[in-house]
Amino acid sequence: MSLITAKNIEDHDGAYADLLAAHRGLDTEASAALNARLILILMNHIGDRAVLREAIDLARTSGT
């Protein structure tokens, strides 16, 4: 399997809103901590080292 980069969430606007709602009211530090927990949970759910590496690469190279 390789990383899915095409649209893959039915209600993407709703999912995006869920993400923002989780961060609402948090200061920068608490947001960073929440993100870290979320990333670890999602990493475990994906479970595939090759897919994770692709995801990390995409994140790293898409910042500019």
Binding site: R37, I39, L40, I41, N44
Partner: protein, 515 residues
Amino acid sequence: MAYDYAPFPYIAPPGLAAPEPRHPVIIVGAGPIGLAAALELANHGVRSVVLDDNNVVSVGSRAICWAKRSLEILDRIGVGEACVEKGVTWKVGRTHHRAKEVFNFDLLPDPGYKMPAFVNLQQYYVEEYLVTRCEESDLVDLRFKNKVVSVDQGEDCATLSIETPDGPYTLEAEFVLACDGAKSPIRTMLGLDFEGELFEERFLIADIEMEADFPAERWFWFEPEFHSGQSALLHKQPDNIYRIDLQLGWGSDPEEEAKAENIIPRIEKVVGHSDFKLDWTSIYTFQCRRLKRFVHDRILFVGDSAHVVSPFGARGGNGGLQDVDALGWRLAAVVTGRAPRALLDRYDAERTYGSDENIMNSSRSTRFMSPSDGADRWFRDATLALASHAEFARPMVNSGRLSMPCIYPINAPDAPGLPAVSRPGSVAPDAPQGNGWLLSMLGGQMTVLAIGQPAPDGIEAITLEPSPEITARYLGDEKAAIYLIRPDQVVAARWTKADAATIQAQIDAIWEGRA
């Protein structure tokens, strides 16, 4: 009861009076690694001289956690049983976050091995047993208060200048083993340096004597209430001695922290009372670094002189004994003319590989234990927070990944149906055999095991019946197999069927340094 540090006698060496004949092997450093190397060489019939600038065993417990593979090596050189008998056997580790246990591990869940997963025993006892054994051997010439001050490598030998209480003398050797520890003077004399990573962290280590009933387990805490925001480690040793490691942070003042009046209140908070005696303390920082090459012509680096790691995986002393394991038979074969010098390059290749694995594991643990600010800390704290809520995060809590022998990446015949645990490059798993053990039967020779089938004509082999342990560890789904085991008890090759010529070709390739 505190250990009695009785000095070993100094005897004036013969070289003071008249030049000594060239020695095949001189070992510099009578720590556990140097002494074990001398005994391993003696097992292979090779004589050595061991030089040490001091005349007592290690002061302080230092290396205390001896892993199963180390105990097997120590057993082969005659001190393994004494270590198990005196030491505290354990196999379970428990990791806590604050007051709650978040992860535990069992390092050897199934029975059927002579040696346990781990034994805690102070380094001074191990050295004492090894010294006694060396003194009993006709092939080990142990010289205390003999300090090497210079080394010179020539065409056909190395020359050492040595200082003794009675003056200086020189010795020549075909090979010199630098077993002189993390600060190796030999390494400095050769102008060599480590490569790798230094960590900005400081730990207090304390051995205390007290009556207590802590179980024989490894206990680790992240952010315990008794040592706010830091981490702590507790190990049980014999003689009512407990080892406590406390993280201090890089900002702490080592001189202040080393004072007993500052150490005692910290320990009181850990154990909850003041009914203990400080036996030994030390403040340490750590590095995960190694020499680029362990073989420098006629000078071979073994143990801490070649590589250092942070202590949380017990990979220092155990890694050093694995060096001895990989070097002894090869050096013996080179010295006796059985094999070309190229065989020593295999020592370098295998042990730099093993050392890299130890460094990788230790660096990861260190980064988890003392994360730098930013992402390292966010993810470390996230893992600890999740561990109480989600099962997947528990094994990610990294308080040290304990020493296991690496699987050497050797290119050798293998058969797919045989079990992974005994694949080529692994240490041959032990198993009960009659009234004894498989590893004792192997000893330190190149050995062919014929399991569930007779050995091919013309090949000397040990024939094994497929007991449940032998089946699980050596046959898997197959009915029969042939294993070639190296003198260091590492599986060199295996087949379900092989003729004599195939096996002999593999044996020749090993002795020639090609496999």
